[in-house]
């Protein structure tokens, strides 16, 4: 059964230096507060996995927590490029960043394979692109039934997956609705999982389109109201589009990024 923990305790116990960490959420339900806690606890040399490394991974990369990134699309959605990501790739600042690059279909299937206890996933994908030349773990496999050549990608098995959800009950059963992305697969693929939630409730009322992660499949749940900001939580908050626009200017320059980090992420350290 999932343990109910504070965010600081959950990150301290479940996210370790050198871990493979997946933080998922497809525009919706991005676990920003947990990302900030990882920055405050100064985790180093993480391999971060995420289909759409956006502003949250830009912050973790700029803060020097990340040595390797496994991803399929890295940008500021609807705004443009990620400047900290670019600076790390192009100038190794603050530390060199190694990339393992895929497509969305490939990443989604890698999580499915991990959640399914399989060593790899099969799909029609990547064929004819330059991605397999640079990403050695995109390979081919012949179908044993038809002989057709298909693409194989290895399962993702993160050490820990971190996601944000609407709510959980006291047994740690987690309820997610709206755009649920790849969170279920990412949690089930991982060895450990931490779910931050808007609230803990006595009873989970069913919601159309919901995904429920049973408490016995989750390691820890931490109540963090507003934990997806500036992303959003359907039914609780709306996306702070102004912040995504503002991030472009904040992150463009190393000094303004560092000031922002000190003021808005590390300052909270003193209060916690």
């Amino acid at each position: 059964m999932a343990k109910l923990v504070s965010l600081a305790d959950g990150v301290a116990e479940l996210v370790r230096d050198g871990d493979v960490v997946a933080m998922e959420g497809f525009t919706h339900l991005i676990p920003f507060a947990a990302g900030h806690e990882i920055i405050r606890q100064r985790r180093r040399d993480l391999t971060l996995v995420r289909m759409t490394p956006d502003v949250i991974y830009d912050q973790l990369i700029g803060a020097g927590c990340v040595g390797r990134l496994v991803f399929s699309w890295g940008g500021n959605p609807g705004v443009g490029s990620l400047h900290r990501f670019r600076d790390a790739v192009q100038n190794s600042w603050p530390v060199p960043l190694e990339l393992e690059e895929h497509s969305h279909a490939g990443m989604a299937n890698r999580y499915v394979a991990g959640a399914s206890g399989l060593p790899f996933a099969v799909l029609r994908g990547y064929t004819g692109t330059d991605l397999p030349r640079h990403t050695p773990n995109i390979r081919t496999i012949d179908c044993p039934f038809t002989g057709e050549t298909l693409t194989a990608v290895p399962a993702l098995r993160p050490d820990v997956t971190v996601v944000h959800a609407q709510r959980a009950d006291r047994a740690g059963n987690v309820q997610i609705w709206g755009i649920t992305g790849v969170q279920k697969e990412a949690v089930l693929a991982a060895r450990r999982s931490l779910v931050t939630v808007e609230e803990i409730v006595d009873r989970l009322e069913p919601v159309p389109g919901q995904v429920v992660l049973p408490g016995w499949a989750v390691t820890a749940v931490a109540p963090v109201p507003g934990g997806s900001h500036p992303s959003y939580t359907q039914g609780y908050s709306v996306r702070d589009n102004d912040f995504y626009l503002a991030w472009d200017a904040i992150s463009r320059d190393r000094d303004s990024f560092k000031q922002w980090l000190d003021r808005h992420v590390r300052k909270a350290e003193a209060q916690a």
Binding site: S103, A105, H134
Partner: protein, 254 residues
């Protein structure tokens, strides 16, 4: 007739490509604007599919990202991301894929990954593939929207993120790509279509006021021009009014 910008003409021309009662895989930005314009004008039953898992989204304002809450709120179904790629895109259920590009070559191969230098030390690092490689592989056909310039229309893309016709006729079949590939490219200058024989993108239509010389000057290879080159219709007052009302909703949300 109302004045309009080159971007408005491009968006209207792209919207006109979409037929009613078809399913369209929509990326954010210009493709999403064009698809929503089509749905609000001549194609009310156009099915908009967003890679966030929203099938049949009917937003009454422009979404600001592919995971905008308005998409989930108005969709026929919201499915997981593995499902949207595996059950809906991969088997060829989506008629049209709508893509943008940072670089494009004469065979409609697209780069959205790196420009200049080499892969590990690029001059410019772009966002990468996202859903595009499999959209380009599996949709019935692909429509590309891109502003035409020597920077975007290049002899050779620096990185093949999504395959068009590869290096020419027969390549898609050889690679086992089951969708039809990039039939149409809409730019701010006109419309290019893949020649069925050579697979080469060929200028078939200019927007009003545009010239072949302008198009050639904005293309990094010797541009093929159709013998039946025509001039498209300017945006109608209705198309412009709907497009501007949609754009205004984007500002209102902020």
């Amino acid at each position: 007739m109302t004045d309009y910008t080159a971007d408005e003409m491009m968006t209207v021309a792209a919207a006109r490509q979409l037929r009613d009662d078809t399913a369209c895989f929509v990326g954010i930005g210009l493709p999403s604007t064009a698809a929503n314009l089509a749905r609000a004008t001549h194609a009310p039953n156009l099915v908009l599919v967003y890679e966030s898992g929203c099938l049949g989204a009917k937003p009454d304002r422009l979404p600001l990202s592919i995971g905008d809450g308005i998409l989930a709120d108005t969709a026929d179904a919201v499915v997981s991301v593995p499902e949207v790629f595996n059950y809906w895109l991969q088997p060829g259920r989506i008629d049209v894929g709508f893509l943008g590009a940072a670089q494009l070559d004469r065979y409609g191969n697209i780069n959205t990954t790196v420009v200049g230098g080499d892969y590990t030390d690029p001059r410019v690092r772009l966002p990468g593939a996202g859903g595009a490689p499999e959209i380009a592989a599996s949709c019935g056909e692909v429509v590309v929207i891109v502003r035409q310039s020597l920077r975007t229309f290049v002899e050779r893309v620096d990185f093949v993120t999504s395959v068009g016709y590869g290096s020419g006729p027969g390549d898609r079949a050889r690679l086992g790509l089951r969708g039809g590939g990039p039939r149409t490219v809409i730019t701010d200058l006109g419309v290019l279509e893949a020649d069925p024989r050579t697979c080469e993108l060929t200028l078939t239509r200019l927007h009003p006021g545009g010239t072949v010389e302008q198009a050639r000057a904005a293309t990094g290879w010797p541009l093929a021009v159709s013998d039946d080159l025509s001039t498209g219709e300017p945006p109608t007052d209705d198309e412009l009014a709907v497009l501007r009302a949609l754009e205004a909703t984007k500002k209102a949300v902020r």
